[in-house]
Amino acid sequence: MAYSDKVIDHYQNPKNVGTLDKGSKNVGTGLVGAPECGDVMRLQIEVDETTGMITDAKFKTFGCGSAIASSSLATEWLKGKTVDQALTIDNMDIVEELNLPPVKIHCSVLAEDAIKAAINDYRVKNNMEAIKFEEGAIH
């Protein structure tokens, strides 16, 4: 199976690899997937508390090229968005942007889950209620 050029580019030059201080109050961390499934994504956002704007985003991913590319792309999209805007990122947007084949759709689902988990972590830390998300169709 050949990878799309965009997947290859993200794999070779991943954007925003790294770690934010997960103890910090304005950092939200989402850790999703499982080693047994061959995919683990950790996605972190740093939020400006006054504007609600995501000022930084970092990821680390254990997984195939498509999983790495999905999380790299997600961090690019998150930066500069408000937390509310970030909630509208849909896994199918990632599928479309990266031209993921059907067997790799789960990578995009994982990235969407990571975004939501990071946002909820941030919300809980800042005394907001965690948002209840519906289970994705493709789990």
Binding site: Y11, G33, P35, E36, T61, F62, G63, C64, I68, H139
Partner: protein, 405 residues
């Protein structure tokens, strides 16, 4: 000059040796006859070529040419042996013993027979990938007609104690079939010294063409028979009908002859390269060889690089190096290798594995390049791996509650 891509997936298939191709060519055009045509010279020439090849094939494994049933490959040989024995020896019993690390061609054949009333015992293997002989003997019953244990494993290269297995089979009056696909042509295999009653093997794993293989069926002590699984003209002593693939058989014969003559020299050179590769890659932290290193084919190595995922790893160099991974991230099931799991490896380690299969054509330059490319990619991906970071921070990954998908 290093030419790309480098091919290190020789357990999947090997390139044809040019000497094999050369031997085959006249049998496509000038000598195109049907080996079963008894009334003209085209048929005679083809038959002669097949007889000669059959002898080359038999000699490699210490068999008599009459004991070689030509097939389309090892999958057909596995099917014919197991199904054929099950049918032929139905009056004696219905129990077959095999192992969980066998090739799918054996396992799925056994599953199929279960639906037809066979009783199958699947032996577990130890962490080295070897079956336990005491467990095997304990599993044998009066109704056991066949023990089917592969000679060497396709994923980890582990070589089973074939002589001891055949001795147990003989002692209890069961037949011993072995899938010799990965072993024949690579290590000395002798059907008499090894006590083998039936053995499947194939041309394309030993520098011969695809689509041709053989099933060895013992003719004396004991005389073994299998029920044909394909009906037709009664070729191959009635055990396998179908017009013979003459050019393929000629190539297979030549490949067997070359393996017999060059095995010692090839093994010496290839095992040195394999060891060099393995030693260098084990310098990487948290990398592990899967399966026994002692009882193993000389050209195979299967290594897990913990905290990086196999498919992601291969993407780092898949334009330059062709390899396989135990990670089945590309398959629809997303299940990692059942062979590695049978060794007791966690799914995470199974997902992190690469299988190296060297060949007669592998060079030291290729190995040096491979070591460098893999080491760099592993290091790069670990920098990107949350699991690696946790491991480095002393987090026990087993204690984390992962969200399972």
């Amino acid at each position: 000059m290093l030419k790309f891509p480098i091919y290190l997936d020789n357990n999947a298939t090997t390139p044809c040796d040019p000497r094999v191709v050369e031997a085959m060519l006249p049998y496509f055009t000038e000598n195109f006859g049907n080996a079963a045509s008894r009334n003209h010279s085209f048929g005679w020439t083809a038959e002669e070529a097949v007889d000669y090849a059959r002898e080359q094939i038999a000699t490699l494994i210490g068999a008599d040419p009459k004991e070689i049933i030509l097939t389309s490959g090892a999958t057909e040989g596995d099917n014919l042996a197991i199904k054929g024995v099950f049918e032929m020896y139905a009056s004696k019993g219905n129990h077959i013993i095999t192992a969980t690390t066998e090739h799918k061609a054996v396992l799925d054949t056994c599953r199929h027979l279960e639906k037809l009333g066979a009783e199958i015992t699947y032996l577990e293997v130890n962490a080295d990938g070897l079956i336990d002989l005491a467990e095997l003997e304990a599993a044998i019953k009066p109704t056991t007609i066949l023990i089917s244990i592969m000679y060497a494993n396709n994923e980890i290269g582990v070589v089973q104690p074939v002589k001891e297995i055949s001795a147990l089979a003989r002692k209890h009056g069961a037949l011993f079939f072995t899938d010799g696909t990965q072993a024949v042509g690579k290590i000395p295999v002798d059907v008499n010294k090894d006590g083998i009653d039936l053995m499947a093997f194939t041309g394309h794993k030993m520098y011969g063409p695809k689509g041709v293989g053989a099933l060895y069926v013992r003719r004396k002590n004991p005389r073994v028979k299998v029920t044909a699984q394909m009906d037709g003209g009664g070729h191959e002593r009635g055990m396998r009908s179908g017009t013979l693939n003459v050019p393929g058989i000629v190539g297979f014969g030549k490949a067997c002859e070359l393996c017999r003559l060059e095995m010692d020299a090839d093994t010496q050179r290839i095992s040195k390269l394999r060891d060099k590769l393995e030693t260098a890659l084990l310098q990487l932290e948290e990398s592990y060889v899967n399966g026994s290193r002692e009882h193993r084919l000389p050209h195979v190595s299967n290594i897990s690089f913990k905290y990086v995922e196999g498919e992601g790893l291969m993407m780092g160099f898949n334009k330059e190096i062709a390899l396989s991974s135990g990670s089945a991230c590309t398959s629809a099931s997303l299940e990692p290798s059942y062979v590695l799991k049978a060794l007791g490896l966690g799914d995470d380690l199974a997902h992190s594995s690469l299988r190296f299969g060297l060949s007669r054509f592998t060079t030291e330059e290729q190995i040096d390049y491979t070591v460098k490319a893999i080491s760099e990619t592993v290091t790069k991906l670990r920098e990107m791996s949350p699991l690696w970071e946790m491991f480095k921070d002393g987090v026990d990954l087993d204690k984390i509650e992962w969200a399972h998908h």
